[in-house]
């Protein structure tokens, strides 16, 4: 197992260099000039422009800029935002908890519903129950996320008035940010009303964000279960005299979870990297929205640094999934 892990970790190095180079080049290939964008409608004089170019290092040849940037990154410095002058890392760490909180709630919601639904569909294969579950997950998977979000807002927030439209917390509450997770911060502050308000704000965006993972995990669980239920060891489990519940949830699900966990991991990393549409529609102050705005403003350091941090997260999640894989799959555990 350690060798397996070491191998994975070594692969991280070239991946990281690739990402640094790619984001650096791609954002510069895009038309638009960050200095002109900061200057806005009033424009900027030629001397001031040259001065700013020099200040940000944009006057240097591209490969020197890249070498400088790489050196910075290797020293753990991701630079400052061209627009706000705040360090990229600081902006990221301020915003990331909001994204993570939403992503975790969404993935938990998705897993809690998707696994039982997938198991049920597999056990009741080719019945009306199976067909309904498959149809619903297909619709969920195909529904454009912004459309689905707007429908929910229209029904629950506008027409019924049950849910807030946007944001993480009603402005009447003043909660000190300790962890950045609103649910935890409100509890630390001991404000029960604020906690329930935060939950209230989370419901719609979490449902929207959970929709695609829910559909994907349901379908994966169903097909993995169908495969496993055909296996000889399921017949052995029944021959032992085990109840159908034990056969399905102990003997079958344990094996069916192996591919499902991979899918959950992939979906988690997608959600953690910022759900741009969901965060924008619900004015959720997370990294998805932040990154989108940085792209509009050609804020090179933010885009580069943000993408790099997100790539780091994806690698981290994948490594955790690999570890879980080893835990759940004994034939990987004893690799020599």
């Amino acid at each position: 197992m350690p060798q397996h892990l070491l191998h994975r970790l070594l692969l991280v190095i070239p991946t990281f260099f690739g990402i640094v180079a790619l984001t650096f080049l791609l954002i510069r290939l895009a038309p638009g000039d960050p200095i002109l964008l900061i200057a806005g409608e009033h424009g900027v004089s030629a001397e001031r422009y040259a001065e700013l170019q020099q200040q940000f290092g944009f006057d240097q040849p591209l490969f020197i800029q890249f070498a400088d940037y790489l050196w910075q990154v290797l020293n753990g410095n991701l630079g400052r935002s061209v627009v706000t002058q705040t360090p990229v890392l600081e902006e990221f760490s301020n915003l990331f908890p909001a994204t993570l909180e939403l992503a975790l709630i969404a993935i938990i919601l998705a897993v809690l519903i998707a696994i039982p639904a997938g198991v049920l569909a597999a056990v009741k294969r080719n019945t009306i129950i199976d067909h309904s579950i498959t149809a619903v997950s297909l619709v969920g998977y195909s529904m454009p996320i912004f459309w689905w979000a707007l429908l929910l807002i229209l029904l629950f927030s506008v027409n019924l008035g049950w849910m807030p439209v946007a944001g993480r917390l009603n402005f009447i509450y003043d909660i000190e940010s300790v962890t950045g997770f609103m649910l935890i911060d409100t509890l630390i502050a001991g404000d029960k009303d604020a906690f329930f308000d935060a939950v209230h704000h989370l419901i719609l965006p979490a449902i929207v964000l959970a929709t695609i993972p829910l559909a994907v995990i349901t379908r994966m669980t169903r097909s993995a279960m169908l495969e496993v239920l055909k296996q000889d060891y399921i017949r052995t489990a029944r021959a032992k005299g085990l109840s159908e519940f034990s056969v399905i949830f102990k003997h079958a699900l344990r094996n069916a979870l192996i591919p499902v966990i991979t899918v959950i991991g992939l979906q988690t990393s997608i959600l953690m990297t910022g759900a741009i549409l969901t965060e924008t529609i619900f004015s959720w102050p997370g990294i998805g929205k932040w990154l989108l705005e940085a792209v509009y403003r050609r804020d090179y350091p933010v885009v580069q640094g943000g993408v790099l941090l997100i790539a780091g997260l994806v690698i981290l999640v994948n490594t955790v999934v690999d570890l879980l894989y080893v835990l759940i799959n004994p034939s990987l555990r004893q690799q020599k």
Binding site: R238, A239, K240, G241, S243, N329
Partner: protein
Amino acid sequence: MSNESSVMSRQSSVRKNPPFLLKVKNLSVDFRSHGKSISAVESVNYDACAGETVAVVGESGSGKSVTALAIMGLIRKPGILRSGMVKFDGKDLLALSSRQRRKYMGRNLSMIFQEPATSLNPSFSIGQQITEVLKLHENLNHAQRHNRALDLINEVGISDPVKCLKLWPHQLSGGMNQRVMIAMAISCNPSLLIADEPTTALDVTVQAQILDLLRSLQQKNNMGMIFITHDLSVVSNIAHRVVVMYAGQVVENCPTTELFQQPQHPYTEALLKSLPTKNSYKNKRLYSIKGSPPKAGERLSGCRFYSRCNYAKNNCREESPKLINDLQSNYRAVRCFYPLTNATNHMLDLFDDSLA
């Protein structure tokens, strides 16, 4: 020759006054496919006494495994149990609720399968899988279960029980996995063990070891055994009685020795003729039965073996023979209008050869 005498002696030791342990009556199983019902097993009857090994022999698709699965209540969709009774220990298993039947399964009545490697769950250790049965059926605490598992592993001839319990199925060979399956199956001292081609997937040397193990366990625990196989040479080594199945029906049911000496059904005779013997290498082609067994679903009227039978007469095509007890000895039965007799018999040499 020693084998022959052991078969004889075991034969005479049972069935004096049979208290039947298992009685399968008129068991029929259908498979549903594309809206049509296809009969896999039709009106099968056989029985087994305590301490008796009954071999069920037949080609693939003859319904031998399906019958066994039906006894265990393991028929799943698209299979449907059409009719029948499985009397075990005085109760009709098929009439019990699934909850009541589960109390017997794995405890009084257990089963081992053809593919040991895939019959064990890859996600649980050997120890977990054995103690699971004990946890389910026996009132033992954790330490007692562990000790019992060690005893069982020892009993099936695995040398390092402590280590074995910690291993996973993928770390063991096929023969070892089958031993583990056997340990699991006998963990609650069942009175009947169903072995569904337990040696088919194994090497020849391992086959012999597993057969020896099953035979010794069976004798030691006075356990009844239904031994399903397509290999007649295995039958002569292990079984007291043979049930021959063809195309979903029992065609002959007979004590082993007599079956080899005097098969009454033409199909049984043809099967015995197809066995390789000591003389087979003498430029002789091995005998094979002409034609192929009817496909499921295309079963016509008349005797099912009609088109392949060397002795068929006209009425065999139209009328279906019934399984009828032999007139002289009521402990053998055959499904044929013209059962073979001594006059047609030329099997005796063959019997000697196959057992030598």
